[in-house]
C-alpha cells in the first residue's frame, strides 16, 4: 500500500500506519547521511523517548538510527526495549515499571565508548528523578573560618547590639528608618533617586515637547515619510562622558585634568560616594564610572571632583534632541545623552554623521560619538569603536571582531557562561550551533546570541517605551528597633510606590518584596548607615486585580516580610517592586472578569422609568435623612410650578403598588381569619424590621389610587379611619393624597396597621356582611369562574382594573388631583397590560401557596386516567402486534368481517385518543405481516390505512 496515497474519512488507523511508514522512510534517509560507517551498537534495540531530554529528542533519534537502533515514535509497549527519559512523574513511573527506563546519558556514553554499556547504571527510578540537589562545595577557606568561629565559640554579631550602638547617636537616629517620614526624606535627598527619575522625566518631557513641535504623534510614526529605498541605517549617538563634559564647559581650566562628577565636594580617599561620570583623562588612569570616589582617588590622585549641575544637563539635552529631530526619520530616546535614530538609506551615512556631530558641537560645545550600522546592534557596537569624539560605520561582517561581552544584553554572568563553553569572541559564537546555544541559554536568548553573532537584529526603533515596572527601594539608613517601626516603614514605602504608580498612571498586578538582611557574620557597614554586607531575599505575590492602593500593597508586603521571620534589627534594606502594569484608564483591562448581566429587578427598572414627581413643600418637610434616601431610590423631580394644595404625589411603580395591594389583601384576610398563619408572618417580619434597617423587599402601603374604594368602604369604621389616617400621613386633615412615606415611617405605620388589625379583631363591628365580603374574596376561583369570558378573570384584576374615577370618593377630590390620578391610572394600565398574563397566574399561585402553607403542600394531583383503547385487552404496541400477527396467521384466506371491525374500531379509537404514533406503528406492522399473505389481506391493510387517515382528517 502506498503510504503517500490519500486516505478516506474515518481511516485513522490507515493514517497512523501511513505516518509511521513515512517516519521510517525519513529514518532511512537519515541513515544514509552517515558520513562514515558507525558501529551498529544499538542493533536490535527498540528505543522510545519520553519527555524532555538533553540532548534533544531529534538529536537522540538521529544517533539511535545512525547506530542501528530502532526509534519508536509511538510507544509500542510490546516491542520497546528501552525508554529514554530524564524525569518521570509518579504516574509514568508506575506505567513504565516493567520497562528499562534509562536516562539519555546511557545513549551518549555508549556512543562515546563505541559499545553498549550496561543500562543498569543509567537506570531511572522514581526516587532518583526527584529534583536533583546542587552540590555546594565549601571552599577550604570557608571551612577554616567556620572552624575558627566554632573554636572561639564566637556568636554571630547581634543585630540588636549593633543597632543599639548605632542609634545611640542622635544624628543617626534622625536619619534612619526609626524616624517616621524617613522614606520621604530619603527620597528627597537621594542622589541616585534624583538622577534616575530626573533622567526619565526629562527624557519624556523633551520628547513630548519636540513631538508637538515637529508634529509627530506620540508613540506613533514620524512626520516625514519614511523612504525605504535603500538599506536601513541606524545611528547611535552618544555624548562622550556627558556629565563630565558639561561640567567642564564652565571650568575650562580643568579640561586637561582628570575630572569626575560626584556629589561629594571634597574628594577624600575614604569617600564612598559613587562617580557618575569621568572624562577620558581620568579613564586613562583606571577610573571608571560607578567607582567609589575613594577608590578613584587612590588610582588617580590628581582627580578633580565636580558637582552635579542638573539644569545645565537639561538644557544641553534639549538642544541635543532638537538637533537630532532635524536629521532623524525615526528616533528612539535612550537617555538624556543618548539616542538612536534611523535615517534615510540613500544618504551618505558618514556625511550625515559628521553633520550631526558638527551641529551638536556648535550648539553645545560638547562632543558626541556616533556609531552607524544597518541595525541597532551594529550601531551600538560601532559606538564603542567611535568613542571618543568620532564616528564609525560597522557592517555585518565586522561584528565578529567584537568580544561577546560587547554585545548588548550580555552581562558578566553570560560572559562567564560563554567562556566556560570556550566562547569569547563573536566569531566563536558564529561557529556554535543554534541548538547548542539554545540548549544552554534557553530558546530566546540562544536565538538572540545566534542572530547577534551574524549581525542580525531586526528590532525596530521604539519611540516610546512602555513602562515595565515601578519600584521603590531603600537600603540606606534602614535600621529598626521594633515591629511598629517596620510596619510604619513599609507603609511609607508603599505610599511612595503608589505615588510613583499614580505618577505614570499605572496599576500593578504583581508585588515583589526585596529584602536586604545583614549577613549574620557582618558587622556595621563601612559606609555610614549603609547596608553593609547583606543577603538578598525576594518574594512576590500576584494579585487578581491590578492595584495602586497603598494599603493593599503595604499589607501584602508586610505579610511577605513577616513570612521570612527575620529579626527586625537585621533588616538593612527593603524594596517594593510593582510589575505587570496596566493602564489606569483602561477599564476593560482592569476588570478582566466579565460582568454577569443580571437583569435588574423589575422593581428597580420600573422605578427608573418613572421619574417621580414630588411636591417640593412636602419634600422639604421631610427629615434630611429621609430626603437623601428618597433621592437615592427615586428619580425625584421637583416641579418648578407649585401645584395647588395637593401635598405630595409620589408615584410608586405599579409593581410596588401591586405588592402593596397584596399586603392589604393579606390584612383583610387577617381580619377575617384570626388564626391565619400569614398574619403571624407579617407580625414577625415587621418586628424584625424594626430592629434592622427597613429592607426594600418589604411591601409598602399602596398609593391611594390603588386602594379599592369598595373594600375600603366595606371595612369596619374604626379600621377605615385607621387606614385613612395612614394615608393622610402627617396631615391631620383627611386629604387623600398619594403618599410615599419614607421607608422607616412606613415601617412604623405598617406596624401600627398590623397592630390595629389585631385590635380590630375584637371589634364588635366586624359584621357578618363584612366577613362574608372579605371571605368571598378568599375563595379560590374555580375553573368556570376563572374563565368566564364576560367577567374579568380574577379578583386581583378587579381591584386593579376598576378606574379610580368610578369610586364615590372621586368627586370629593380636587381637580388637579383627579387629573394626576388619571394620568397615573393610564400609565399603570399600560404596564399592567403587559404583565397581566403572567401576573394573573402568579398571583393565583402565591395565594394558593399561602393557603396551602397552613395545611399541606399540594402534591401531584391525580388526573383522571384515560381509558386507553385496547385490542383484545392489549394496549401496548407489543401486545397489539402479537394479536395482529396471530390474527393474520390464523386466517390465511382473509379477515372475517367481525374481526376486521374490531381492528378498525381499535385504530379509530387510537386516533381519537391522539395516539397516532401507535396507530402508525400498528399499521406498519400490519403491512409487514400481510405482505406475503395475498391480495385480500393487502387490500384490508390499505383499507385500515385509509380508515386511520380519514379518522385523522376528521
Amino acid at each position: 500500500m502506498n503510504p503517500y496515497g490519500a486516505i478516506k474519512f474515518g481511516e485513522f488507523k490507515t493514517y497512523m500506519t501511513n505516518k509511521q511508514a513515512k517516519l521510517k522512510d525519513q529514518e532511512k534517509f537519515l541513515e544514509g547521511t552517515a558520513s562514515q560507517t558507525v558501529p551498529q551498537i544499538f542493533d536490535g534495540l527498540s528505543i522510545y523517548i519520553n519527555g524532555y531530554t538533553n540532548p534533544p529528542q531529534s538529536e537522540l533519534r538521529r544517533q539511535i538510527i545512525l547506530h542501528g537502533g530502532d526509534y519508536q515514535h509511538y510507544l509500542k509497549k510490546s516491542s520497546v526495549t528501552h525508554i529514554i527519559a530524564t524525569n518521570l512523574t509518579h504516574a509514568k513511573c508506575n506505567e513504565f515499571r516493567a520497562y528499562k527506563v534509562v536516562n539519555p546519558d546511557w545513549l551518549m556514553d555508549s556512543i562515546k565508548e563505541q559499545r553498549l554499556l550496561p543500562w543498569n547504571d543509567y537506570r531511572i527510578t522514581g526516587k532518583d528523578t526527584a529534583q536533583s540537589e546542587l552540590h555546594f562545595q565549601r571552599s577550604n577557606k570557608q571551612k577554616q573560618q567556620q572552624h575558627e568561629e566554632d573554636d572561639n565559640t564566637k556568636k554571630p554579631l547581634e543585630g540588636k547590639a549593633l543597632n543599639a550602638t548605632l542609634l545611640a547617636k542622635s544624628w543617626n537616629r534622625e536619619n534612619t528608618s526609626v524616624n517616621p517620614g524617613f522614606v520621604k526624606k530619603f527620597y528627597s535627598s537621594s542622589r541616585l533617586h534624583h538622577l534616575s527619575t530626573w533622567k526619565s522625566e526629562i527624557k519624556a518631557e523633551i520628547i513630548k515637547r519636540l513631538d508637538e513641535n515637529f508634529g509627530r504623534e506620540a508613540g506613533g510614526s514620524i512626520g516625514k515619510k519614511r523612504k525605504r529605498n535603500g538599506e536601513r541605517l541606524v545611528m547611535h549617538i552618544d555624548f562622550d562622558c556627558f556629565f563630565a563634559s558639561v561640567g567642564l564647559l564652565d571650568r575650562p581650566e580643568l579640561k586637561s585634568q582628570p575630572v569626575a562628577v560626584s556629589h561629594v565636594q571634597q574628594a577624600k580617599t575614604d569617600s564612598s560616594s559613587d562617580i557618575a561620570s569621568c572624562n577620558y583623562i581620568a579613564r586613562a588612569s583606571g577610573v571608571r564610572n560607578g567607582m567609589h570616589v575613594g577608590t578613584a582617588k587612590q588610582r588617580c590622585p590628581k582627580l578633580q571632583v565636580i558637582p552635579y549641575e542638573f539644569e545645565k544637563y537639561r538644557a544641553i539635552s534639549e538642544i541635543f534632541y532638537e538637533t537630532l529631530y532635524g536629521f532623524a526619520e525615526e528616533i528612539e530616546p535612550v537617555s538624556v545623552d543618548e539616542a538612536l535614530i534611523e535615517i534615510g538609506g540613500d544618504e551618505e551615512a558618514n556625511i550625515v554623521a559628521t553633520q550631526i556631530r558638527d551641529a551638536i558641537r556648535e550648539k553645545t560645545r560638547c562632543e558626541v560619538s556616533i556609531g552607524i550600522g544597518p541595525n541597532i546592534l551594529l550601531a551600538r557596537l560601532a559606538t564603542k569603536k567611535a568613542k571618543p569624539a568620532g564616528q564609525y560605520y560597522c557592517n555585518t561582517e565586522e561584528v565578529q571582531k567584537f568580544s561577546v561581552s560587547d554585545l548588548p544584553r550580555i552581562g558578566p554572568s553570560m560572559t562567564d557562561k560563554l567562556a566556560d563553553m570556550g566562547i569569547s569572541t563573536v566569531a566563536d559564537v558564529l561557529r556554535t550551533k543554534l541548538s547548542v546555544l539554545q540548549s544552554n541559554f534557553g530558546p530566546k536568548t540562544g536565538k538572540m546570541l545566534y542572530e547577534f553573532s551574524r549581525g542580525i537584529d531586526d528590532r525596530p526603533l521604539k519611540h516610546e517605551q512602555e513602562r515595565q515596572s515601578v519600584s521603590a527601594d531603600v537600603n540606606w539608613g534602614v535600621r529598626f528597633e521594633n515591629e511598629e517601626q517596620v510596619k510604619r516603614f513599609v507603609d511609607e514605602l508603599a505610599e511612595e510606590v503608589t505615588e510613583r504608580l499614580r505618577g505614570v498612571q499605572r496599576k500593578g498586578k504583581r508585588i515583589t518584596l526585596n529584602v536586604l538582611r545583614r549577613c549574620l557574620d557582618a558587622g556595621e557597614a563601612s559606609k555610614r548607615l549603609g547596608c553593609g554586607k547583606c543577603d538578598n531575599f525576594s518574594k512576590s505575590v500576584s494579585l487578581t486585580i491590578a492595584t495602586d492602593d497603598p494599603k493593599a500593597i503595604s499589607r501584602h508586603v508586610y505579610d511577605m516580610l513577616l513570612s521570612y521571620k527575620f529579626d527586625v534589627t537585621d533588616l538593612r534594606g527593603l524594596g517594593i517592586n510593582i510589575t505587570k502594569l496596566e493602564s489606569v484608564d483602561d477599564n476593560s483591562k482592569v476588570v478582566k472578569q466579565q460582568k454577569l448581566s443580571f437583569t435588574p429587578s423589575y422593581e428597580s427598572t420600573k422605578l427608573k422609568q418613572f421619574p417621580t414627581e414630588v411636591d417640593p413643600e412636602v419634600f422639604a418637610e421631610l427629615p434630611t435623612a429621609v430626603q437623601d434616601e428618597l433621592k437615592q431610590q427615586y428619580k425625584i423631580h421637583l416641579p418648578s410650578s407649585k401645584q395647588t394644595d395637593s401635598k405630595l404625589s409620589l408615584q410608586l411603580s405599579p409593581q410596588k403598588e401591586k405588592q402593596a395591594s397584596v399586603v392589604v389583601d393579606g390584612c383583610k384576610e387577617d381580619t377575617a381569619m384570626v388564626e391565619s398563619p400569614y398574619s403571624s408572618d407579617i407580625q414577625t417580619s415587621s418586628d424584625e424590621s424594626v430592629n434592622n434597617e427597613p429592607s426594600a423587599s418589604l411591601p409598602d402601603i399602596p398609593p391611594w389610587s390603588q386602594l379599592d374604594p369598595g373594600s375600603l368602604l366595606a371595612l369596619p369604621e374604626a379600621m377605615r379611619n385607621q387606614v385613612l389616617k395612614l394615608y393622610s400621613g402627617k396631615l391631620p386633615k383627611r386629604k387623600q393624597n398619594d403618599v410615599e412615606l419614607p421607608a422607616q415611617q412606613q415601617e412604623q405605620q405598617r406596624l401600627q396597621q398590623s397592630d390595629s388589625m389585631f385590635s380590630s379583631r375584637e371589634h364588635p363591628q366586624l359584621t357578618k356582611k363584612n366577613y362574608r365580603l372579605m371571605n368571598s374574596s378568599k375563595n379560590s376561583t374555580t375553573l368556570t369562574q376563572m374563565f368566564n369570558t364576560t367577567k374579568s378573570p380574577s379578583r386581583e384584576d378587579k381591584t386593579v382594573h376598576r378606574p379610580p374615577w368610578e369610586s364615590a370618593i372621586w368627586a370629593e377630590l380636587p381637580a388637579s388631583m383627579q387629573a394626576e390620578i388619571q394620568a397615573d391610572h393610564r400609565r399603570e394600565q399600560l404596564v399592567r397590560e403587559r404583565n397581566i398574563r403572567n401576573h394573573h397566574f402568579r398571583e393565583a399561585r402565591v395565594k394558593l401557596m399561602k393557603n396551602a402553607s397552613s395545611t399541606t403542600k399540594i402534591m401531584a394531583l391525580p388526573l383522571p386516567v384515560q381509558n386507553e383503547p385496547k385490542l383484545l385487552g392489549n394496549s401496548s404496541i407489543e401486545g397489539v402486534r402479537t394479536v395482529l400477527h396471530e390474527w393474520v396467521e390464523s386466517f390465511p384466506l382473509g379477515p372475517e368481517d367481525e374481526d376486521a371491525g374490531v381492528v378498525v374500531k381499535f385504530l379509530q379509537q387510537l386516533v381519537q385518543t391522539k395516539d397516532l404514533e401507535k396507530a402508525q406503528l400498528a399499521i406498519m406492522y400490519f403491512y409487514e405481516v400481510t405482505k406475503e399473505k395475498g391480495d385480500v389481506w393487502c387490500l384490508f391493510a390499505d383499507k385500515l390505512k385509509q380508515t386511520v387517515s380519514d379518522a385523522t382528517e376528521a
Binding site: 376563572m786 374563565f787 399561585r845 394531583l861 391522539k914 395516539d915 404514533e917
Partner: protein
C-alpha cells in the same frame, strides 16, 4: 426540581413557538437568511429573527395560554398554502388533548395549576426534543412546495371562540379544517410526527400533505 402544571403549560407554549419557527424554516416559507441557529432542548433549531414574523408567532403563542389553561384548545394548525390558488398544500397539526377539558373536574383550577406534574422535566424535554427532530425529518418525506407559499396559523377550539382578555389578539373565525377538507381537499397522506404524553396533556403531532402538489407547481 418540582415543576407545577402551570410551568408545564408554559413549557408547552415555549415548545409550540419553537415548533412553528422550525416548520417555517424547514418548509422554506421564508428566506433562510432571516433564521438564526439556536439551541433548544439540546438540538439545533432555526428561529426567525425577522421582527414581524417573530412577533406574530409569539403573539399567537401568547394568546394560546388562556386556551390551554381552560383546556379549550383542540388543535393548532399551521397551513401552508399554494401561492396561486390558496389551496392548502400541507397542514401541520398540533393536537392537544387536555385533562383540563374533562367536565368531571371539580378541583379548583388554581389548585390544579399549582400541583406538581407527575412526570419529570427531563422526560418531557426528551419528548419535545424528539418531536422537534422528527418535525425536521419530515422534510425528506414531504414533496417540495412551490416557492412563495404562504402560511396561516389557526386554532380549533372545542367550544366557542377563544375568550380573549387581551385587546391585542384579534381572532378571526374561520371554517374548521374538517369542513374545509371535506369540501375541496384531497389528502395524499398523513405523516405522524410524534405522540407525546405529558401529564395534563397528550400531544399528537402530524402533518397532512395534499394530493398532486407537484401538478400545481408545474401549472
Amino acid at each position: 426540581m418540582m415543576i407545577s402544571r402551570q410551568d408545564l403549560i408554559n413549557l408547552l407554549l415555549d415548545f409550540i413557538e419553537v415548533w412553528i419557527h422550525q416548520i417555517l424554516y424547514e418548509r422554506e416559507l421564508y428566506p433562510t437568511a432571516i433564521f438564526s441557529l439556536k439551541k433548544k432542548y439540546d438540538v439545533p433549531v432555526h428561529m426567525a429573527t425577522h421582527e414581524g414574523v417573530a412577533n406574530y408567532i409569539s403573539k399567537f403563542v401568547e394568546s394560546l395560554q388562556t386556551l390551554l389553561i381552560s383546556g379549550n384548545c383542540k388543535f393548532i394548525s399551521l397551513k401552508i398554502m399554494s401561492p396561486m390558488n390558496n389551496r392548502i398544500l400541507e397542514r401541520f397539526v398540533f393536537e392537544i388533548e387536555s385533562a383540563l377539558n374533562e367536565s368531571n373536574l371539580d378541583i379548583p383550577l388554581d389548585t390544579i395549576l399549582d400541583s406538581e406534574v407527575t412526570c419529570s422535566l427531563a422526560d418531557i424535554q426528551q419528548q419535545l426534543r424528539a418531536c422537534l427532530l422528527r418535525t425536521a425529518g419530515t422534510r425528506s418525506s414531504l414533496v417540495n412546495n412551490p416557492s412563495d407559499c404562504t402560511f396561516t396559523l389557526g386554532v380549533e377550539t372545542y367550544s366557542g371562540p377563544p375568550s380573549s382578555t387581551h385587546q391585542q389578539i384579534d381572532w378571526i373565525p374561520t371554517q374548521s379544517d374538517q369542513q374545509e377538507s371535506q369540501q375541496h381537499q384531497r389528502w395524499n397522506h398523513i405523516i405522524p410526527i410524534k405522540t407525546i404524553p405529558m401529564d395534563l396533556f397528550k400531544i399528537n403531532v402530524f402533518v397532512i400533505e395534499a394530493m398532486k402538489k407537484g401538478k400545481h407547481v408545474s401549472r
